[in-house]
Amino acid sequence: MPGALMAWTDEELVSRSARGDHDSFNQLVVRWQRPIYALAYRVIGHEEDARDVCQETFLRAFRGIKGFKGEAKFSSWLYRIALNLCRDKNRSAQRSPLNKVSDDVDVLDLAPPHVAGSSLEDQVGWSELGSEVSRAMMTIPDEQRTAIVLKEYQGLTFREIADFQGCPVSTVKTRVYQGLTRLRQELESRGIDRVATFPSRAPDAGTRQRMRRVT
């Protein structure tokens, strides 16, 4: 029997939630809201929409928890709900990539005032990368971006992504390849033309293992 101070497993919390224990469900919310929000933000590229998706995901999970029989992991179930909501969001938004990017452009991102004491060059270098990657990611088609996000940030296998996206494994590989290629072109066109010279910071084995936990 797990003691009071021991962390409950997802499965234990799910079964307690299904019996009407709100606190148990809230522990699941605390545990998973950040990963779900991160996923939604990267797939949608919009903070408010990502928050909406995150809330809606847990709301649906809460409503459906009694019907969740544990045939998949709770996290996989959550991810599936979130991805479906993201897809709906992306479809309903019907934003053209260029418009989408200009929505996200924030001049403050480029020159953060709170980095005191560093030169302008340092500031630019410090903040440029994330926002440039973010903008470049928003220019690639939703399905390619989703595949890349699931691969890079969630550490899923091509087969798992194919399962999420409901398409053959070969299609997922094509999406990731085309997405990365497009991303490379975008970054180069934005003046980040030394992509290949940067040291690769792809997730190491430990990170990958940690990421795999989520599925």
Partner: protein, 254 residues
């Protein structure tokens, strides 16, 4: 045979993807590596894609992340400090009622008071709206005068009534006056009072309607102005952003 394999890997990128993400078996790995040893184009591509992957690590979701809880319906009345305690909240009708109340209060800026002089419903924005935004000032003066007259009339009545007889009505009315005439007088006063109250209510209602309309017109005007201003601001921001981007390109090119 070897040429065919090279073409396969050059044309069909799925094997390269499997290799990039370390998802291929030993045989496939050897095959790709053998190909990379002789194909500069695929080697460059692999290196570039690895570089792009390295860049992706810098893309972090913005802070703060959402923070919310499920709140049981019976705990809704307790105020919570948590920012997003929203669902499982109140029944829909109570939310709707609260919303209506808030909207009405915001729109009408009402002052509702229940005191010695009865229920007072007063629309208070007439003090808040700048005079330039007022409309229908002619009619407004008219019904304001009407209201003032009514008010003074009522006050007068009330004073004569309370000075003539103590407010405790029939039980303490002087015995010199006959009971019958008293009764008639009281009835008349009550009738008059009721009529006045009805008229008063109607006037107040009319005033409310007029002021709502005037306020709406003023608000629409202001919204238009704000929209115009924001449009100008957005354009200015775009220009500013363009300048900063130009600068960045120059700095990056150094």
């Amino acid at each position: 045979m070897m040429d065919n394999r090279r073409d396969d890997i050059c044309n069909d990128k799925s094997l390269l993807m499997s290799y990039l993400y370390d998802e291929c078996g030993l045989d496939e790995r050897k095959r790709v590596e053998a190909h990379l040893a002789v194909c500069a184009s695929c080697r460059d591509e692999l290196q570039a894609l690895t570089g792009v992957r390295g860049r992706l690590v810098d893309w972090t979701p913005p802070e703060p992340a959402p923070d919310f809880r499920v709140v049981p319906a019976d705990a809704v009345a307790v105020p919570r400090s948590r920012p997003w305690t929203f669902w499982q909240a109140a029944p829909v009708w109570s939310l709707a009622a609260a919303l209506v109340l808030v909207v009405v209060t915001l729109v009408a800026n009402l002052e509702i008071r229940y005191g010695d002089d009865g229920l007072v419903v007063r629309s208070a924005w007439s003090d808040g709206v700048p005079s330039s935004e007022r409309t229908q000032s002619g009619t407004e003066a008219l019904w304001r005068a009407e209201l003032a007259a009514l008010e003074s009339e009522l006050r007068q009545d009330f004073e004569t009534f309370s000075s003539g007889e103590p407010p405790q009505t029939s039980e303490t009315i002087s015995s010199e006056v006959s009971e019958e005439s008293d009764l008639v007088r009281v009835q008349r006063l009550i009738e008059e009072s009721e009529r006045r109250q009805q008229r008063d209510l109607a006037l107040h209602f009319a005033q409310l309607m007029r002021e709502t309309d005037a306020q709406r017109q003023a608000d629409l005007g202001r919204i238009d102005q704000q929209l115009d201003r924001h449009q100008h601001l957005t354009e200015a921001e775009v220009v500013q952003h363009g300048e900063i981007m130009d600068y960045l390109v120059r700095v990056a090119g150094r």
